[in-house]
Amino acid sequence: MKKYLSGLVLLFVLGQSAIVFAGPADSKVEQLGTSKFLEIVGISSKITDNLLVIHLQIKNKDNNDNTGFYRVRWLDESGDPVWEDEVWKPLLLHGNQKISLKMVAPTVKAKDFRIELSTEENYRE
């Protein structure tokens, strides 16, 4: 009976949200140049109530404050954009700070994403 109930709970949870991506950030991040100090250390996404939700963790590897800019490109299954360009959003991280960001898709058509990141201390290769 207990097993049956926990199975029902699991089914309910999976019904509400489905994990879409949890893995290395490289494939989902497009950096404008190479960031010296700001690094995306964790990235995951899941579909909750039909909307894609991204959880992002960024770390400042420097002892000083550093500023960056980010935005998301929302894509469909085939990689085509489903939303216009978002506004770039400024980001301030204090020395050695790690922050978490949550981003919600603007439309249920979004099934995939790319995160664009630009930092003031970037140097281009």
Binding site: T48, D49, N50, L51, V53, F69, R71, W83, D85, E86, V87, W88, K89, P90, M103, V104, A105, P106, T107, V108
Partner: protein, 199 residues
């Protein structure tokens, strides 16, 4: 026979032709004004700016969409005023317009005519039904307008601190959605922005 001076003249004319040719391929007039990207972060002054408007609209629209995305049917809402409690001029209608555009494009909500547009809506209904100018059966009927189930309203406030060298501005934009029938607040969220300028 082409002499050296003639060659020089030809070279000059050739260079001139190429220069004009290159210029003609750019579909612009004059070079005193530069167009920028409307999505770039504006950091000109600490006053409320385009990036603030865009970030607020995006954050509020996404939060609202998420709050109702699990619903079976799209709810019908109307937008009331966003009060400006700051000491600067802010076109709050422009913020709510952007929120509505994003929610309509995202397909998560439906919007009823708001108070600001009600006069033109009723004028058009009256014109179609009372002027006698329109073919019968082709006019929009009276008494068919849908009443919104929810009302969205809010306010924007700010705190400004100044010293000789620093100006710090903190903005707080609060939005809430009220069930019109029951009067209960069903959703609320806020977006904070801090801007600091050093002189």
């Amino acid at each position: 026979m082409i002499t050296i001076s003639n060659r020089a003249k030809l070279l000059f004319l050739f260079t001139l032709a190429i220069s004009y040719g290159c210029a003609a391929t750019t579909p612009s007039v004059g070079d005193n004004v530069q167009y920028g990207n409307s999505k770039d972060v504006e950091q000109v002054t600490t006053e409320f700016g385009s990036t603030d408007l865009q970030m607020i609209a995006e954050a509020m629209a996404r939060s609202l969409a998420q709050s109702t995305s699990g619903n079976k049917d799209k709810i019908l809402v109307t937008i009331a005023d966003v009060k400006n409690k700051t000491d600067e001029y802010i076109d709050t209608k422009s913020i709510t317009d952007s929120i509505r555009v994003q929610l309509l494009k995202g397909g998560t909500m439906r919007f009823a005519t708001d108070i600001a547009d009600m006069e033109s809506q009723t004028d058009e209904l009256s014109r179609q039904n009372s002027s006698g100018l329109y073919k019968q059966g082709s006019t929009a009927k009276r008494g068919k307008m849908e009443g919104a189930q929810y009302r969205i309203e809010g306010n924007i406030a700010s705190i400004t601190k100044r010293t000789e060298n620093i100006k710090d501005v903190y903005y707080k934009f609060t939005l809430m959605m009220t069930n019109i029938e029951s009067g209960t607040i069903e959703w609320s969220d806020e977006k904070e922005i801090r801007k600091t300028a050093k002189h």
